[in-house]
Symmetry: D2
Subunit: 345 residues, 4 copies
C-alpha cells in the first residue's frame, strides 16, 4: 500500500462524500484511510449507505478530532460552507481539496456578502487554487488548498472560458439558464426535496441571487480583464444527477470562430468533448462519468449564439473533479480512477 495516497473524507455522510468514496474505492492509487462524519461517528458506512454493503473494508465513521492527520496525504472537504473552512483550517499536514464554497472566492468580503457571515479562515484564501482542472493544471501541483468549483460554475466556465479567452464573445450580456438534478441539494431533510414535491414537476430557485453567481463572475472577469455581471437562473428538475446549462451569448465575431475556439481548446482534453455540429448536449450522455459535453449553436437572434454544456453534477461537478484535481496535484495520470464510461440508460 505504500504507493497509495492516503485520503480522508470530511462529510462522508452526504451525497458528495459518498460519491467521492464510490470513486475512490476503485482508484488504483488511493487508500481510504479515514471517513469523518461528526454526527454519525461510530457507525459503519454501510449503516448510512446501504449501496456500500458489500464494501466491508471501508473504515468506520469517526469524528474529525479522532483522526491522526499526520498519516493523511489529502483531505477532501465535503461539508457545507463555513463548516468546511472552519474544520479544515484546524487540520495540519494533508493537502486540502475542498468541495464546499469556502475557498472559491478570492475576496473574503464578497464571501461575507453572499454566504451570510465572515469567512472562517481568510488566512487560507491566498493559498487556494480555483480547481477547474482544465484551467488550473499549472497551479495544482504546488497548491496546499484546492477549491473545487461549484457544479454550475464548472459547466458554465467550461462552456464559456475558451470563448472569452479567445475574444469570441462579449463577456457581459451573458444569460444562463441552468437545470439540475436533485442530488445537488444534498441529503438534508427539506420539504422541497421530498419525492412528492419534486417528481413530475419543475421550478426555478435562487432567482436573481444564487450563490454560484459571484464565483462565475470572478472567473469570467479574470479572463475578460474587467468586471462581469451575468443573468443566471437555475431550475430543479426531477432527476437524481445531471446538470445542463444553456448560455445565450453575444458573438464578437462569427459562429465559426467561436466553434474553433472551443474545438482548439478542448482538442486534447480527456474529459471535455465538443460534440459534432448540430448534436444537442444531454445529461444522459455523461451520467455517472467525469465527462463534459459541449456544443455551440446559432441563435435565431442575429449575432447571438447558444453555448450548451452538460455534466454529472456529482462527478465532474463535484467529486469526480476533486479526484481529477488530486491526480494532477500529486502527479498521477489525470484520468486515473475516472475512466468509467457514462451509465446510459
Amino acid at each position: 500500500m505504500t504507493d497509495r495516497l492516503r485520503i480522508a473524507v470530511l462529510g462522508a455522510s452526504g451525497y458528495t462524500g459518498a460519491d467521492l468514496v464510490r470513486l475512490a474505492l476503485t482508484h488504483p492509487r488511493v487508500e481510504i484511510t479515514a471517513l469523518v462524519a461528526n454526527a454519525k461517528a461510530g457507525q459503519a458506512m454501510q449503516a448510512i449507505w446501504p449501496h456500500f454493503a458489500p464494501y466491508r473494508a471501508l473504515p468506520t465513521l469517526v469524528q474529525a478530532d479522532d483522526v491522526d492527520w499526520s498519516g493523511i496525504d489529502a483531505v477532501f472537504g465535503c461539508l457545507p460552507h463555513a463548516t468546511s473552512a472552519e474544520l479544515l483550517s484546524k487540520i495540519e499536514g494533508p493537502r486540502i481539496i475542498d468541495l464546499s464554497a469556502d475557498f472559491r472566492l478570492k475576496d473574503a468580503a464578497t464571501y461575507a456578502d453572499w454566504y451570510g457571515g465572515a469567512h472562517p479562515a481568510p488566512e487560507l484564501l491566498p493559498q487556494a487554487v480555483y480547481g477547474l482542472t482544465e484551467f488550473a493544471r499549472a497551479a495544482l501541483p504546488a497548491a496546499s488548498v484546492v477549491a473545487c468549483p461549484g457544479c454550475y460554475p464548472t459547466a458554465v466556465l467550461l462552456a464559456l472560458l475558451p470563448l472569452v479567452e479567445a475574444g469570441a464573445i462579449a463577456a457581459d450580456r451573458i444569460t444562463v439558464n441552468a437545470l439540475s438534478g436533485v442530488s445537488g441539494s444534498g441529503r438534508g431533510l427539506k420539504e422541497a426535496n421530498l419525492f412528492a414535491e419534486v417528481a413530475e414537476a419543475v421550478h426555478p430557485y435562487g432567482i436573481g441571487h444564487h450563490r454560484h453567481m459571484p464565483e462565475m463572475e470572478q472567473e469570467l472577469a479574470l479572463r475578460a480583464g474587467r468586471p462581469v455581471t451575468i443573468s443566471f437562473t437555475p431550475h430543479l428538475v426531477p432527476m437524481n444527477r445531471g446538470e445542463l446549462v444553456t448560455c445565450v451569448v453575444e458573438l464578437a465575431g462569427g459562429l465559426a470562430e467561436a466553434r474553433t475556439a472551443l474545438a482548439t481548446r478542448y482538442a486534447d482534453e480527456p474529459f471535455v468533448h465538443l460534440l459534432p455540429e448540430g448534436v444537442a448536449p444531454a445529461t444522459r450522455m455523461v451520467r455517472g462519468s467525469n465527462n463534459t459535453v459541449i456544443n455551440i449553436f446559432a441563435d435565431r437572434v442575429p449575432g447571438r449564439a447558444l453555448v450548451i454544456a452538460a455534466i454529472d453534477n456529482l462527478v465532474k461537478g463535484s467529486s469526480g473533479q476533486a479526484i481529477q484535481n488530486m491526480n494532477v496535484a500529486f502527479g498521477l495520470p489525470e484520468t486515473l480512477g475516472l475512466e468509467a464510461a457514462p451509465l446510459f440508460p
Copy 2:
C-alpha cells in the same frame, strides 16, 4: 340533452384529443357526439385509452367521412399540422376550434417557411381568431375558426403581453428558456420519447429554430407595433405534464411598474394568477388544471427582469384552453368544465 353543445373531436387517439375528451366528459353543457381517428376507426376508446374503461357511453371511433357534420356544433382539431387544416377545410357546419398549428400564423408564406409546405387551406386564415382566450374574448363569439395557441406561446404570451402592452419592457431583447413535459410531443413512436431515453435526463431541442417562435413573434409584434425577434430554447424534462417558461427581459421602467401591469391585467382573470412577490412559479402548482401562475423578479443584471410562468401543457396549453375558447365562443360561462383544482402531489 338539447341544451348541450354537440362536439366532435378529430384525432381522439392522441394525448391532446384524449385530454379534451377527459375534460368534455364532465362538462355540464357538452355532449361528445363523435370521436374521429381515421387509423383506429371501429375501435372503442377504451381499447386505446384504458383510463376511459369505465366510460362506456363514449362513442366508438369513426372516420371523418362517416360523421354527419350537420349535427355537430363544434369540431376540435387535435391532429398534427397540415393534416388538421386539410381535414377541417372539408367540413361544413360546425365551428372549428383547432389545436394544431395550422391557423395560428396569419401569413401563409411564414407558415410555408416554418412548416415545410404550402398551407393546405389558406382561404380559412383570414377568418381565424388567435385564441389566447384572455386576449381574444371580443373576437371569439363571431369566430368560425379558432386557432388555439401552441403550449409555449400560451405561457410566454400570458407572461409578456401585458408588459409589452403597458410599455413596461422592451419587446426585443427577449430571451426565453422553456421546460416541457413529454406529453407535448405526442403518442407517436419516436426513440427520443422512450422512457429510458427521457427519464433521469434533460436536454434542449429545436435549438434556434423551434416552430413556436414565429407564433410568439407575431403576437408580440402585433402589440409592439414593430417586428420582434426572440431567443427561445425549449428543453425536454422527465415529467408527463407541465411547462415553465423563464423570460429574461429588459425593463423600460421600474420593476414595480411592470409588476403592476401584470397585477392590473390579471386581477379578474379566473385562470391567470400573479403569485405573491418572491414566490417562484412551479409546474406542480397547475398540474391537471387550466390555471396559469406567473411572477416577476429582479435580475442581478441591472435593468433586467425575469418573468416566469407555469402551465399544464395539455390543459391551459392545449385542451383546456380549447374548451375555454368554446365556452366564450358559445356564450357559456368561461370557467365551465374547467374548475378542477390542480392535482398535487
Copy 3:
C-alpha cells in the same frame, strides 16, 4: 349556501388533507368552513400549498380549539393515528369521517398491539362504521363515526371480498404483493422520502408486519366466518400517486365462476370497474380519480388465480373515498364531486 354541508378538515397541512380540500373545492354541495392544522395555525393555505394560490376564498388555518364545532356538519380527520382519535373524541356535534387508522379495527387490543399504545378513544369504536363504501352503504347514513379504510385495504378488499363472499376463493392462503406511490407516506421529513432516495429505485418495506395487515384480515375474516392470516408485502415505487395490488389466491372452483362473482358484484358500481378479460390493471388508468380497476387472471400454477386491482392511493384510497362516504352518509348522490375522469398521461 344553506344547501351545502359545512365541513372541517383536521390536518389540512398533509397530503391527504390537501387532496380532500382539492376535491371539496368543486363539490357542489360542500362548503369548506374550517381548516385545522395546529402547527400552522394562522397561515393561509396558499402559504403551505402553492397549488391553491388562486383559491383565495379558502379559510385560514386555525387550531382545533378555535373552531365553533356547532356549525360544522362533518369533520374529516386527516391526521396521523392516535393524534386523530384523541382530537376527534373531544369534538361534539359534527359527524366524524376519519381517514386515520384509529377507528378501523374493532378490537382495541389489536389496535394496541399494532399501533404501539392504548387506543385514545375506545368508547367510540362501537359506533364506528368501516367505510369501504361499496360494502358499507346500509350502515353509513346512521353512522356517527366513519372509519375510512387504509389505502392498501381498500384495493385488496375491493379485489377479494366479492370472491370470499361468493365462496369462489379460499380466504386463507392469500398472498398480496403491493406497490404504492410515495404520497402515501406523507409530507413529513424523512430521509427515506427524499427524491434522490426514491427516484430510479424500488424497495419493499414493512416486511411481515405492515399495519394494514390486521385491517385486511379483520374484514376478510368477517366474510369468511373464521380467522384469516395473509401474506402482504408492500413496495415503494417512484411515483407520486397510485397503488396496485397483486393477489395470488387459491380458487375454490373455476376461474369463470370467480370472474362472474366480480362482474355481478360490481355491475352497477360507479367507482369499481372489472376490466375486459386479459387487460392488465394499471395505475395510469385511475390517476387522480376515485375509480378502481380490477381484473382476474389464471395463474400458471393450477388452481391459483391472480386478482389485481389499481387505485389512486390519495383518492379512492383516502380522500375520495372519504367524500364518497360523506355523500352516502348525508343522502347525497354518491358520485357528487367525484366525477372527474382520470388524468392520463
Copy 4:
C-alpha cells in the same frame, strides 16, 4: 494488445449491447474488435449512442457477414431470441456468450412452446452451459456456448437455489412478485415504453405466462430433483434500471437454517451479498453495478418466509454477468472490469 481478448458484440445497437460495450471499454483485458448491428452497419457508435461521443476509438458498426471471425476470441449475442441463435450458429471460431433466451432451455420442445417456433440451432443446445456464474464455474472454462440467464431468473435463482439445495424450503409453492425497470424491454419502438405511458405509473405484464418461467422452473427442478411450477408476476416500474424479486416460500425447517444456508453459500462470493438481518434489499443498492443483494424475512403467515433480491437488470441481469462469465471461461480474475461500485443516488 496481445494479452487482450478480442471480442465482438452482436446487437450493439440495443441497450444490452451498449451496456456490454460500456463495461468492456474499461476492462483491462478486453479489446473491442467488432461491433455488429446489421440495420445500422456503416454508422459510428456515436451516432447511435451519444454517451459514447468521447470514445472515438470504438469500431464502426458492421454487418455480421463482414466480420473476420477467425480473429475473435469471444462473441457476445445481444440480439432478440431466435435471431440470436440463427446468427450465432453460423459463426465459427469464437466462443459464444449469448445474452438472448436461445440457449437457456435444455429442451428444444419447451423452447418451441414458449418462444413460438422451432429452435433455430438445436444442435448447439447440448453444448450450452447455463451461465448463472455462481453456479456454473466448473463448467464455464470448457463451454463453447454460454447461455446467460434472463434478468428475472438471475435474481430469483440467486435468491432461491441455495435454499432448495439445502432443503430449507419447499421447491414448489413458490410465489414470486417481480419489479423491473424499463430498460429490460429494449430500445424498440413500442407505445408501452413511451415515457408518458410509463412515468408516474405501474402495471403488471406477462401475467401467468412470462417467458422467464420455464427457465426458472428448469433450474429449480434440477436442484429439487422433481418438476417445479411457480407463480411469477412481473411489473413494470418507472425507472431505467433495477430489478427486485419478492419470493414467498414455504420453509422446510426454521428461518434461521434458511438464513444460514444463504450466508454459507454466499460467504465468499464477490457479487452476491446477504444483507444484515432486517435490512430490506433495494435496487438503489446495486444500480450500475454487478452486485446482488439478498435478504430473508419471516412472513406473518407461520411457516412462510420472504426471500428478496435486487440486481441491476442490465448488469448482473445481463451484460455484467456476461462479462463475469467471460472472465471465468477464459481464466481471468472473475471480478475484472466489474469492480465499479453502485451509482447512488
